[in-house]
């Protein structure tokens, strides 16, 4: 049995080099050569500055922007490193709320959001995804219903017609992939960039 020690050590080292260095580094090289944008995190630049990633949601609070879903991400408390504070869409610390179906805290949070949204747009039913936190806290999408729900608020804040804002939304609805996979959705950042562009014109 002692003679099995040599393969245990040498094979571990050799396979580590193959699977832990050669494989990921070669993949990094190939990815960067053939798909530089995706490999780099699908970053979006405007005037030479990175404004975000097409895949990562960001926080919008102003009335003039479409809002994403609630985000439960947090960050270390600057005044006490053992605690955390709420920091929505913190793309350096992804997480969901992890609150369960009988959680009072969850119920209170949803209730508060529902009431806010009802006041904002009493004419439409509240879209489920606008009051539930995503799993990653970085969900870049909302449902088409959730985007259309916000049209009156955004149009009013931007002094644009509801129809023109609605058209921006419907132009950006992405259907199921290959007609089968996933759900219809709207990328919030892409929509808001289009909105800024439309306002500028």
């Amino acid at each position: 049995m002692l003679k099995e020690i040599r393969p245990a050590i040498i094979l571990t080292i050799a396979l580590s080099i193959i699977t832990g260095l050669a494989y990921p580094l070669a993949m990094t090289g190939i990815a960067g050569t053939f798909f530089p944008s995706q490999a780099g995190g699908s970053l979006i630049e405007k005037d030479g500055k990175v404004i975000g990633s097409a895949l990562i949601g960001q926080e919008f609070t102003g009335d003039q922007y479409f809002h994403g879903r609630p985000s439960a991400t947090s960050a270390p408390d600057p005044s006490d490193s053992t605690k955390t504070v709420s920091a929505p869409y913190n793309a350096a610390n992804s997480s969901g709320s992890n609150l369960g179906p009988t959680s009072k805290a969850l119920n209170d949070r949803i209730k508060e959001d529902v009431e806010k949204l009802k006041a904002e747009n009493p004419s439409a039913p509240i879209p489920l995804d606008l009051v539930t936190a995503s799993g990653s806290g970085l969900d870049p999408h909302i449902s088409p219903e959730a985007a259309l729900f916000q049209v009156p608020r955004v149009a009013k804040a931007r002094k644009m017609s509801e129809d023109s804002v609605r058209k921006l939304v419907t132009d950006r609805i992405e259907g199921r992939q290959a007609g089968i996979f996933g759900e219809p959705r709207v990328n919030v950042l892409a929509l808001n960039m289009a909105l800024d562009q439309a306002s500028a014109n």
């Binding site: 393969p7 050799a14 580590s16 699977t19 960001q58 009988t102 990653s136 996933g182 800024d196």
Partner: protein
């Protein structure tokens, strides 16, 4: 529940079924040492690895030597990963300047990856460097997966061989699995994932200025190469804290589908390898059918529960199911399906937060793990787990008709049944025992994020997941404490090796036996009766073991939810 939802589920099942035979044929050739189409490229590497490590590929091992070789690999792998986690601050590829991982967390994480659990007490992007991700976590993703397959191969040979003292060579099985099976699929898969949007770089985290002018730090890294092996090897440890719910790990519904297929592919194909090696592919399909029945029941219940939503949501006038903790691009169906797949196999990756599932929707993942993750299961681990239950079922059937039980030409006798029972009983001892300890310790109770029965479910899920080497979590539990890091590590070690060593002993005992031809009194093990029998034994043994614990957690929570009681 929608028609398009069912189409996604059926398409998934169809692709897995279509993969079983070709992948099974390929893997059978690989482990028999026959030429395959990758031989011209990879054979020189294989020979080179044997040469530098002093391995004679023709020399086979007794089951005990095989098992000791496997354990030695774990020890070396554990020490290397522990050292890497502790020393990462001063090593290269650390643009985010991660500091050394604390001793108890490093111990937990090293055990977690060596045992193919990949429990995340650590938060990927906030804890580990790129070097640790690659040279530590990715390496163990490969090696722990290959170890599982090797053990399954030894047990298959035990059934297939007649009057032999050896069960194969661990080093050869490990090397072949890594080189010919895992690595080629990962190379192709990684390129596809990057094309579909998964990042693969060594850059520092990006600082972005958002449209509203806020600062957003975007964590990055060599994600795609780890995603592929994480799912293919049923490891499940995320590059990021949010695992496959993170848009970088899983940017679209198609990448999500690729992840799900990867999780099941090898485990499903191993049933066919088993059939081929024992000389009758229908034996493999019968095992696959047992897995399929249990899988579909789980999918239906979880999909129904999540699509139904919660009473709390209904009371607020919200319809459309339960979207808390789920991503819009996946929706209800792909989240529910992923949850069942990841716990049926011992993967543990998640694309939605199980902690926020409805009571019954979250109970199915829990049950899947408690049954021993033998529905497809971890690569290798699922097959040997299932074969242990087959031995038990054959024994029960033998008792009913008063004949010596036999399976694929092997008499099942006292020693085999004892080994199977040892492996099956050790799991509940760990997860029920430690849960009982945790819920009477005030400091451990303080880690619960949810009050009421859901808090109990969080603790039960943690120990179940660790013992079953799954690694998914009801993530609200703050498990990065001394108590949980150590007790969960203990559960992972016992759950892994008290399963593997009896399985190896079983392999050795079976290989030595003579194969006997089937007679008129042999129970046919390729038909519906056999499938029903095994499903029945699994459900009854499982049900008796963990029903009481489930009653205290998800079942009572479901009743509370129906009455709209909040905690």
């Amino acid at each position: 529940m929608t028609a398009i939802g069912w189409i996604q589920i059926l398409l998934f099942c169809a692709i897995i079924i279509a993969l079983v035979k070709p992948l099974g044929a390929y893997m059978t050739k690989v482990f028999n040492g026959e030429r395959t189409f990758l031989w011209p490229i990879l054979r020189p590497f294989e020979v080179g690895l044997y040469w530098i490590s002093g391995i004679d590929e023709k020399r086979e091992q007794h089951w005990l030597v095989y098992a000791v070789s496997m354990l030695l690999l774990q020890v070396v792998g554990f020490l290397a990963l522990y050292a890497l986690l502790r020393l990462q601050a001063g090593l290269p590829f650390n643009p985010a300047e991660q500091s050394a991982v604390a001793p108890d967390l490093a111990f937990n994480t090293a055990v977690s990856f060596v045992t193919n659990t990949n429990w995340q007490s650590y938060g990927g992007e906030t804890t580990v460097s790129y070097l640790t991700q690659m040279l530590g976590l990715t390496v163990q993703n490969f090696l722990s997966a290959a170890t599982g397959v090797a053990i399954a191969m030894a047990l298959i040979r035990g059934f297939a061989r007649s009057s032999m003292r050896t069960v194969g060579n661990f080093w050869v099985d490990l090397t072949r699995c890594t080189l010919y099976v895992l690595l080629p699929i990962c190379v192709v898969g990684t390129v596809v994932l990057v094309w579909l949007g998964v990042p693969q770089n060594l850059s520092a985290y990006t600082e972005a200025t958002t449209l509203e002018g806020a600062k957003q730090i975007i964590a990055q890294g060599p994600v795609a190469s780890q995603m592929m092996i994480k799912h293919l090897g049923t490891n499940g440890g995320g590059f990021f804290n949010a695992n496959a719910a993170h848009p970088f790990e899983n940017p679209t519904a198609i990448t999500n589908f690729i992840h799900m297929i990867s999780i099941f592919a090898i485990g499903a194909a191993l049933t066919n390898v088993f059939g081929r090696m024992v000389g009758n592919q229908r034996q493999g399909w019968a095992i696959f059918a047992v897995m399929g029945v249990l899988f579909l029941v789980g999918v239906v219940v979880t999909y129904w529960a999540e699509a139904s939503g919660t009473t709390g949501l209904h009371a607020l006038g919200l319809t459309g199911g339960n979207m808390e903790g789920k991503e819009v691009r996946f929706g209800i169906v792909a989240s529910a399906l992923f949850a069942v797949i990841t716990t049926a196999a011992s993967c543990g990756a998640v694309n939605a937060m199980h902690d926020s599932f409805t009571a019954l929707g979250g109970m199915i993942p829990l049950i899947n793990i408690q049954l021993g993750e033998l529905i497809i299961g971890g690569v290798g681990a699922g097959l040997y787990g299932m074969l242990l239950f087959v031995v038990l079922s054959i024994f029960v059937a033998g008792l009913m008709v008063g004949r010596t039980p036999e399976y694929v030409g092997k008499k099942i006798e006292a020693r085999e049944v004892k080994m199977a029972m040892l492996a099956i009983l050790i799991l509940p001892l760990m997860y029920l025992g430690w849960t009982a300890v945790a819920v009477v310790m005030p400091s451990a109770v303080a880690s619960m994020a949810n009050a009421g029965p859901h808090g109990f479910s969080e603790v039960l899920y943690a120990f179940t997941s660790a013992t079953g080497n799954n690694g998914s979590a009801f993530g609200g539990l703050s498990a990065n404490t001394m108590f949980y890091n150590l007790t969960l590590a203990c559960s992972m070690l016992v759950g892994r090796f008290f399963m593997i060593v009896p399985a190896m002993a079983l392999a050795g005992a079976l290989a030595q036996k003579k194969s006997i031809p089937p007679s008129a009194g042999t129970l046919p093990t390729t038909g519906g009766l056999f499938v029903g029998l095994v499903v029945g034994v699994i459900v009854i043994v499982g049900g008796l073991t963990f029903f009481p614990a489930l009653a205290l957690g998800p079942i009572v929570e479901h009743l509370a939810m129906t009455a709209n009681t909040l905690f």
